[in-house]
Amino acid sequence: MGALELRGVTKSFGSTEVIKGVDLSVKDGEFCVFVGPSGCGKSTLLRMIAGLEDATGGDILVDGKRMNDVAPAKRELAMVFQSYALYPHLTVRDNMGLALKQAGVAKSEIKVATDRAAAMLGLEPLMGRRPAELSGGQRQRVAIGRAIVRTPKLFLFDEPLSNLDAALRVATRIEIAKLHRELKATMVYVTHDQVEAMTLADRIVVLRAGRVEQVGSPMELYNDPANTFVAGFIGSPQMNFLDAASLGLPAGKVGIRPEHLTISRDQGEIPAEVSHVEKLGGETLVYARNPQHGLLTVRLFGEHDFEVSEKVHLTLQRERMFQFDPDGQRRR
């Protein structure tokens, strides 16, 4: 009841093309995350699905029906915005019930629907308040509640956690994941934060400059990136890229994740000098510099003592490295 399909979707503002032909199909009940650096067109794409921007070309289909010319309110979707976008003059209850009221649903039914959504999100004590009397986290929960009340075919999230502080971000992220399990609804979620993408998504769509770079489950992207962009974007800390030729491999780049580099004081293939150490308790990040490969990150579990400017040797776990050709495409 909520499959989304994009066929050759493009968008231009004047002569600048911001979406350069996107093909994508999201299955019913799937949690799909659009991720990419700012300016990659992910929010524009989401707004086009919502009907807030017209597609310049291509088709947007929900459940097989072409939606290009359907008004946003008639597309049976709900959207949660980064800035919450609550109606300042309405109470929490009225904010959540407005869409149903506009659709002509009976008052008693609206009350049932808003109460159910409020119970899911723990908003019951706040129902009579106005947005100005709520904290940031509460406002975002109300915004999510407003989306649930409509029982839409499609949930759209536009960077919903960006305005929350770190602790609240994690809590709300878990709440959204739980919500997806309970509602089994199709969700499309836009973020620039790869951690959010990895933790929430069934499938991640990596976008760059208006094009899809790769689509896949989080682990597919992590274990099998198609190019250096995806390899560098997914995973934190970022993947190390080394000069392939100097390792005796065909020209191009070699990618190795920080957790797949081993460090030793005595021996190894790449000599390096420690330039910085970050101790996080559970793990230790060692940044070591090699004149040929630049700054390399090593991720170690547990606590380790390395001094700045100490000489170390790094070794690649060969079976975990990725080879890329000079254009940045994966060598297979």
Binding site: R47, A50, G51, L52, A71, P72, A73, K74, L77, A78, M79, F81, Q82, S83, Y84, A85, L86, Y87, P88, H89, L98, A99, Q102, A103, R130, P131, A132, E133, L134, G136, R139, R146, D158, N163
Partner: protein, 278 residues
Amino acid sequence: MSARTSLGRTIAAHAILLTYTMIALFPVFVIVINSFKSRKAIFADPLALPMPDNFDLVGYQTVLKQGDFFLYFQNSLIVTVASLFFVLLFGAMAAFALSEYRFKGNTLMGLYLALGIMIPIRLGTVAILEIMVATGLVNTLTALILVYTAQGLPLAVFILAEFMKSVSHDLKNAGRIDGLSEYRIFFTLVLPLVRPAMATVAVFTMIPIWNDLWFPLILAPAEHTKTVTLGAQVFIGQFVTNWNAVLAALSLAIVPVLVLYLIFSRQLIRGITAGAVK
């Protein structure tokens, strides 16, 4: 050190502002005190405060006895409030269209609408009079309302468009997804958020209209359409001027516009948009 300079600055700023306030308010002050004095006292010592020995309400008595002053007030109020209503309504709607929708010639249209700020409407007086004669609107309040609406719109569109650009797009989009019509979005979401700007525009628009003598004199000088400023002119003769009555009429004319100003300025000050976004 820094505390002393900031104190010095505060004093300087206040001195400048107080001086300006005194200069601006002085004519009003002189009008009001002299309206309570006898004719002889006005000329003997224009700056003296009204005292028991020179106190005289003859000006106010003349004005009130002159009969039609109540009608003049009513005319002024109708013209000002109606013009204000239309300026705010149409100005806000045009500003919303310019700031919200992308269409061909958007910028050009904005410039065209703002052009009126730089061209005084009085340059077109003769043409306006000809139009009013042709349409039979001479000596009606409608003529004045139309002219003042046209006069106020450019600045209103200009200021309101800037403010409306700052209203959160997410909020408007949320309304669209919830099925609100563009009119509902405009009236219930956007207008309340630009209320301070509306109040600013209202004040800027209202005062020139209330004080105007030019268009009432040219377009509506008939007895039943006279405004207060025009009505006060009956006491200014070619040879004799009834200063008591003129000053009393002007003092009275300040009151309604002051009340309107107070209403709008409360809107200006009130913080109203907190919590809408972020």
